[in-house]
C-alpha cells in the first residue's frame, strides 16, 4: 500500500506551491467570467438606487488592511453607484485604522469622476456632493449622536474643516435626512447600527461584510433589519456587475478579475479535503 502512504504524506510546501500556481495562472491569463447576481446584493443595490434626492447616504468604511481585498472593491463600487446617481454621500469610520482606506477609496473614485466631468454640475465636489466625517470614538458616540445632530458629533471633519461651514451638512442634519447607511465592515459594526441607530431612530441599514462572518448576518437579512447584504469578494463582484451593467460606469473591477482564481482555488481546496479523507479512511480500515 505504498500509494496510500504517499497519499497521506504530501509535504506542506508542495500544497503551498499548488495553491500559489492555481491562483497566479488565472491572473496571468485572465478569462471573462459571467457573474450571476443573487437576491441579497440586488436588494442592497435597489436600496441605494431608491435614495430620494433630498436625502443622503452614509457609508461606514470599517475594513482594515487585513480584509482589504474583500471589502475595498465594495467601497469603490458603492461610491461609483452613489456619485453616478448624484446621491449625496457622508463617509465615516468607527475605528481609526480604516480611515486611511476610506481616504484611498474617496480619492480614487472622485478622481475617476472628475477626470471625465466637463461641467461643474457633474463633477464631484467636496463639501457639496460628499463629506468625509472622519473618526469619533467610541462607536456609541456617532451611532447614537447622529440621531440628534451630525455636526454636534463631528465638530470637524477628517481634513480639519469645521463641519458647520460645509454646505452639504446644512441640509443633512441628522438621521431623518439619511435614507440609508451602508456599513462595509469585517466585524460587528453593521449589527451595532441596527441595535442602536435602527432601534431608536428607524435608520435603514445595509451591510457589506467579509465572507468569514457571512452566516452570522443572514438572520438580520431575513427579518428585514438589513436592507441588503453583500458578502466577501463574490458579493463585491456581483455589485460591480450591477454598477457596470445598469449604470455603465467604467472603472477597474478588481473583485471580478479575481473570480477565476477564486474558482480554481476552491476546487483545489475541495480536492485536498477529499484526498486527505481518502487516506484517512483507508488507514482507519487498516487498523
Amino acid at each position: 500500500m505504498k500509494f496510500v502512504d504517499y497519499l497521506t504524506k504530501i509535504d506542506r510546501r508542495i500544497i503551498y506551491v499548488i495553491l500559489l500556481a492555481v491562483v497566479v495562472l488565472p491572473l496571468l491569463f485572465p478569462s471573462a467570467l459571467s457573474v450571476r447576481v443573487m437576491p441579497p446584493v440586488e436588494k442592497l443595490f435597489h436600496a441605494i438606487d431608491a435614495i430620494p434626492e433630498e436625502k443622503a447616504l452614509i457609508i461606514d468604511f470599517d475594513y482594515d488592511p487585513q480584509t482589504l481585498p474583500e471589502l475595498e472593491p465594495m467601497g469603490f463600487a458603492i461610491l461609483r453607484h452613489a456619485f453616478s446617481r448624484r446621491i449625496k454621500v457622508l463617509a465615516l469610520s468607527l475605528y481609526v485604522q480604516p480611515l486611511g482606506l476610506a481616504q484611498n477609496a474617496l480619492i480614487q473614485v472622485t478622481e475617476e469622476f472628475n477626470s471625465t466631468a466637463q461641467t461643474n454640475r457633474d463633477s464631484v465636489i467636496y463639501g457639496r456632493d460628499y463629506v468625509f466625517l472622519g473618526w469619533q470614538p467610541p462607536p456609541l458616540i456617532p451611532i447614537l449622536g447622529m440621531g440628534e445632530s451630525i455636526i454636534n458629533v463631528y465638530r470637524i471633519d477628517y481634513y480639519g474643516n469645521r463641519t458647520d461651514t460645509l454646505p452639504l451638512l446644512k441640509e443633512i442634519k441628522n438621521y431623518s435626512d439619511i435614507a440609508l447607511l451602508v456599513s462595509i465592515s469585517s466585524g460587528d459594526p453593521p449589527k451595532w447600527w441596527v441595535e442602536y441607530a435602527q432601534n431608536r431612530f428607524g435608520l435603514q441599514v445595509g451591510a457589506g461584510v467579509t465572507a468569514v462572518s457571512a452566516s452570522e448576518f443572514y438572520p438580520f437579512l431575513q427579518t428585514g433589519q438589513f436592507s441588503g447584504l453583500a458578502i466577501g469578494m463574490k458579493g463585491a463582484a456581483e455589485y460591480e456587475e450591477l454598477v457596470d451593467n445598469q449604470l455603465h460606469v467604467a472603472g477597474r473591477r478588481k473583485a471580478s478579475e479575481a473570480l477565476p482564481s477564486l474558482t480554481y482555488a476552491h476546487l483545489v481546496m475541495i480536492a485536498f479535503i477529499i484526498i486527505g479523507n481518502i487516506g484517512f479512511f483507508i488507514k482507519r480500515r487498516q487498523k
Binding site: 432601534n199 462572518s213 452566516s215 452570522e216
Partner: protein
C-alpha cells in the same frame, strides 16, 4: 407674506377632513397632518401643504405626490399652528378648510417601545431570580455535558501513554467570557495531571491571563495534596503576537509530542494553524470556544468540540461556581420562554387575523 390668490375652482374638489395632531411618542418638534384625498385625485398633480401661525397668513411648507394623504411637519414646541391642504392641477389650486389649532409637545413615554422594556423585565427578572438562588446556595441541576466526559477520557489517555498534556487557552484577554471559562477548566485538568503525575504544558498569550492561570494551577496541585509536584515552568508566557503564538504552540506540539491537546478559550484566525499541527501529530484534541467563526475548523480538525454555550455550561458544571450556575439556569429558562412565545404567537398568527407581528416590532 404675499396674499394667496383665492380663485374659485369649479373643476377640482379640494381635499376634505384636514386634521393635524402632535406626532405621538416623540421629543416634540413634529406635527402630523392628514386629509382625505380629493375626489378628483386622479386629475390632481400634487398636494401642497400650507401652515399659518395666526390663522390668516399661510405659507407653503410641503409638497406631497398625488395618492398620498400624510405629511409630517417640523415645528417648534408649544407654538400653535393651523394647516390647509391644497389640491393642485396645473394652474388650478383647490384649498381645503383649515384644521384645528394644534401645537407639538414632548412625551414622557414612547409607547412603541414598551414591548421591549417588558421583554427586558421578563428575561432580566428570570436571570436575576436564578442568580439570587444560586448565590444563596440552592442546589441547581445542570446535566453532565458530554464534553466534560471527553476531557476526563483525554487526560486518562495521556496518562496511560505516559505522554504530556498541552493546554492552550487561546489569545483572549481576562475580560473575554471564553477565557474565564477556560481558566476554570485549566484548574480541573491540572488537578488530574497532579493526581496521575502527568506532565502539564500551558503556554500563554496574555500576561494577565498567564498570572491568573499560574495561581489556579498551583492551587490545583496543592488541593490534591501534591504541592511539591507543581513545576512553575509548566505555565509560561510565550508572546503577545497572534501568529508568533500559533507558531510557538505548533513548535511545542512537534517537540514534546503531547498525547492530548486542549484548545479551549477565545480564538481567532490562528485557531486553524494550531488545530492543523495538532491533528497531524495524531494527538487527541478537545476544543472549545464561543467564536462562531472558528468553530467549523475545530469541529473538523478536533475529536471533540465544546460549541459556544456548551463551553460556559462545562465550566459551570466543573467549577460549581454559583454565579455561573445561576446565569446558565436563568438563560435556560429564558430559552423556554422564547420557545413558548414562538409556539403561542404562531398559533395566534395562523388561527386568528390578529396582527401578532406588531407586538414584536
Amino acid at each position: 407674506m404675499d396674499l394667496i390668490l383665492l380663485t374659485a375652482i369649479f373643476v377640482l374638489t379640494p381635499p376634505a377632513g384636514v386634521r393635524a395632531y402632535d406626532t405621538p411618542d416623540d421629543r416634540g418638534g413634529s406635527i402630523t397632518v392628514e386629509w382625505n384625498l380629493s375626489s378628483d385625485d386622479a386629475a390632481v398633480e400634487r398636494y401642497d401643504v400650507y401652515r399659518s401661525d395666526n390663522g390668516v397668513d399661510y405659507i407653503k411648507i410641503g409638497v406631497i405626490g398625488k395618492g398620498r394623504s400624510v405629511f409630517e411637519d417640523e415645528t417648534e414646541n408649544n407654538k400653535e399652528y393651523m394647516y390647509k391642504v391644497a389640491a393642485v392641477q396645473d394652474t388650478i389650486i383647490a384649498f381645503s378648510e383649515p384644521s384645528m389649532r394644534v401645537k407639538s409637545v414632548s412625551q414622557w413615554i414612547d409607547r412603541k417601545k414598551i414591548n421591549i422594556v417588558v421583554a427586558v423585565f421578563i428575561f432580566g427578572g428570570i436571570i436575576l431570580y436564578f442568580i439570587y438562588h444560586a448565590r444563596k446556595g440552592k442546589e441547581l441541576f445542570i446535566r453532565k455535558i458530554a464534553g466534560v466526559q471527553a476531557i476526563d477520557d483525554a487526560v486518562g489517555r495521556a496518562t496511560e501513554m505516559g505522554k504530556p498534556i498541552l493546554y492552550c487557552p487561546g489569545i483572549g484577554y481576562i475580560e473575554d467570557i471564553a477565557t474565564i471559562a477556560s481558566l476554570s477548566i485549566i484548574g480541573e485538568v491540572a488537578k488530574k495531571c497532579a493526581q496521575y503525575d502527568t506532565k502539564f504544558i500551558n503556554p500563554h498569550f496574555d500576561p494577565i491571563v498567564y498570572t491568573v492561570a499560574r495561581e489556579i494551577v498551583k492551587e490545583s496541585y496543592s488541593s490534591v495534596g501534591r504541592p511539591d509536584a507543581f513545576d512553575p515552568d509548566s505555565v509560561y508566557f510565550v508572546t503577545d503576537s497572534q501568529f508568533a503564538y500559533a507558531a510557538a504552540v505548533d513548535g511545542i506540539m512537534l517537540r514534546e509530542k503531547p498525547a492530548t491537546n486542549f484548545l479551549i478559550g477565545w480564538f481567532r484566525a490562528e485557531s486553524l494553524i494550531i488545530a492543523e499541527t495538532g491533528a497531524s501529530t495524531g494527538a487527541i484534541q478537545i476544543a472549545g470556544t464561543d467564536q462562531v467563526s472558528q468553530l467549523p475548523f475545530f469541529v473538523t480538525a478536533c475529536d471533540y468540540t465544546l460549541i459556544g454555550e456548551e463551553l460556559y455550561a462545562a465550566s459551570a458544571y466543573i467549577s460549581k461556581e454559583p454565579l455561573l450556575l445561576g446565569a446558565i439556569k436563568g438563560e435556560d429558562m429564558g430559552k423556554l420562554v422564547i420557545v413558548s412565545i414562538l409556539v403561542a404567537a404562531s398559533i395566534i398568527g395562523l388561527v386568528t387575523k390578529l396582527h401578532i407581528l406588531d407586538l414584536f416590532r
